[in-house]
């Protein structure tokens, strides 16, 4: 999305010039073609939770460089500067239409939302907090996958977050994941795919391997909608595709169904 001026923005998909206040009002969904532009984590939180209800947790966690990986320290510093965040996920406790939940929102702007030690730790703490306080867990995913720069330590975050899901099952509280653009690889192949209910935004990229790798490993051409939320829903991997405006009421509805008991 290129900014034409302070007042006008261009849709990344249909290229139409949009009046910025209208575009922001529409939660950065193009009013012309419906393209869902990526949101920053804090924007997402503001659109999702009841006003002033969000209390951030574990904001003091900072990445380290366990392998001394080339350029990683530099990338972290630049990521923090350009994203204005210290890591690729923000977690906390909030209410959604009055339902108290543990909330985690990934931020693609910080190193492609990649999952290293801090993301893994904060996701596990979400599940532990949900179990301790008997609260539902809602996670918005936005990630290119595991963080290569943390090597095998980052691969282990797949197991660690999955362990969190396994233990949280004892809480008998719902875990709902929302796949936003993009939800890929190590995140998709761990905690993200294990939610009780999986929602996705229209058109979000959702898949395991990169598109080129997938095409190279396959006979014939991948379908046109390959690795979109729509493709994944066709194949049974997503419960529901929900336009951005409807996500908050849909979450509230599901929370009511799963936590309200059988008798209305």
């Amino acid at each position: 999305m290129a900014s034409a001026s302070d007042q006008w923005v261009q849709c990344a998909k249909c290229k139409k010039i949009l009046f910025k206040p209208d575009f922001e009002q529409a939660m950065r969904v193009c009013p012309s073609c419906g393209h869902h532009h990526r949101l920053r984590a804090r924007e997402r939180i503001a659109f999702t939770v009841d006003p002033n209800s969000f209390v951030e947790t574990d904001a003091d966690l900072r990445p380290a460089d366990p392998l001394g990986f080339p350029e990683y320290a530099d990338k972290l510093a630049k990521g923090a500067q350009s994203a204005g965040e210290n890591e690729a996920i923000i977690t906390g406790i909030a209410t959604i239409e009055g339902h108290r939940v543990v909330l985690g929102v990934m931020d693609f702007a910080f190193m492609g939302g990649s999952m290293g030690s801090v993301v893994g730790e904060k996701v596990v703490r979400c599940f532990e907090r949900g179990l301790e306080q008997s609260l539902p867990v809602i996670l918005f995913c936005a990630s290119g996958g595991a963080r290569m720069q943390e090597g095998l330590v980052s691969l282990m975050q797949m197991a660690k977050t999955t362990a969190g899901v396994a233990r949280f099952q004892q809480a008998r509280q719902p875990y709902i994941a929302v796949f936003t653009d993009p939800t890929m690889a190590g995140v998709l192949a761990s905690f993200a795919s294990l939610a009780d209910v999986i929602l996705a935004e229209p058109g979000a990229l959702v898949g395991f391997a990169g598109q080129r790798v997938a095409a190279q490993a396959s006979v014939g051409k991948p379908p046109a909608n390959f690795q979109t939320a729509e493709f994944q829903m066709e194949h049974g991997m997503i419960d529901l595709i929900v336009p951005r405006k409807q996500i908050r009421p849909t979450l509230a509805y599901l929370l009511d169904i799963f936590t309200g008991g059988a008798r209305v």
Partner: protein, 319 residues
């Protein structure tokens, strides 16, 4: 047959020894002294080469076409084994072998990734790259183990999970995730051994276990070095540098406390003596099972949770 550069001088010596032996056999000429000399030379050379292998050499060894595979280990170390097939959802993935067997004092469930030895077999096994149905077959076996209170052994050797369109269509990500979830739910002892390539999600799917062992020259990595080099420097040929950066050797994995034990390989790596390697793997597994069998079912699950829970390196900012 591929022969790697660092192995070339060894292979040359070995051919020379072979030739001399043939000469002895065919013509009855006494060459004992020469043979002994060459063998000593070979031994020295092996020691010299294997005492300072670079990470990239380990990548090549882990992928060595003669390296023993899961079924070789099962044959060499188990008293008996019966392979069981299918995910009960329409498929049977040849990239994953699974079944029940006996190992020392234990009846157990075994799940392993299997590469192929020749081209036809390699294709049939999809180069050890499992599809969703492979992980779903594995989950079936894990659940069998839980039901009949049997320990689980997984043998990891895969470049990666299958990344193709077909696998994506059947939910490869969900299958990997649920395979780990199933392992975390078990209350029986679980042990995994990284035999060759521990390739990313495809490997961790089977390695969320109470104990994780690694063969001396195996590798375990979040991304293949070629892929890492392509991302970092847009040049897959710089894979040897990426192999350094990724710290994918057993030594590094142990230093980072991500594995429990390194199983030593014979001089010159597993493929020079599969029998001895398999016996080392066997005794290492039995030692783990002896220890884990002392634990209560719930303690095993808790142990597994804590094992992975503490993995991660981060800092806490001053308030």
């Amino acid at each position: 047959m591929t022969i790697f550069d660092f192995e070339k001088p060894i292979n040359e010596l070995e051919s020379a020894i072979q030739e001399l032996r043939q000469l002895v056999a065919e013509k009855g000429i006494d060459r004992t002294r020469e043979i002994a000399e060459l063998e000593a030379q070979r031994e020295r050379l092996l020691r010299q080469i294997f005492s300072h292998l670079r990470p990239w050499d380990k990548v090549l060894l882990a992928r060595h076409p003669k390296r023993p595979y899961a079924l070789d280990y099962i044959r060499l170390m188990c008293e008996s084994f019966v392979e069981l097939h299918g995910d009960r959802l329409g498929f049977d993935d040849p990239a994953i072998v699974a079944g029940v067997g006996k190992l020392g004092a234990y009846r157990l469930v075994i799940v392993g990734q299997q590469k192929g030895r020749d081209l036809k077999e390699r294709q049939r096994r999809n180069f050890g790259m499992a599809k969703p149905e492979g992980y779903r077959k594995a989950m079936r076996m894990f659940q069998l183990a839980e039901k009949f209170r049997l320990p689980v052994l997984t043998l990891v050797d895969t470049p990666a999970a299958d990344p193709g369109v077909e696998s994506e269509s059947r939910g490869i990500s969900e299958a990997i995730a649920r395979s780990m979830l199933t392992l975390f739910e078990l209350t029986v002892p679980t042990v995994s051994v990284i035999l060759g390539e521990g390739g990313s999600g495809g490997a961790i799917a089977l390695a969320a276990t109470n104990r994780v062992l690694m063969l001396e020259h195996a590798i375990y990595s979040v991304i293949p070095p070629e892929g890492c080099a392509a991302i970092l420097w847009r040049d897959p040929n710089r894979a040897p540098e990426a192999a350094n950066a990724l710290k994918l050797t057993a030594e590094e994995a142990l230093r980072l406390k991500l594995i429990d034990l390194i199983v030593p390989e014979p001089l010159g790596a597993a493929h020079r003596d599969p029998q001895t390697t398999a016996l080392s793997v066997r005794s290492a597994i039995l030692q783990q099972l002896d220890e884990l069998s002392q634990m209560e079912p719930e303690a095993l699950r808790e142990h597994r949770y804590q094992r992975f829970r503490q993995m991660g390196v981060f800092q806490t900012a001053a308030p």
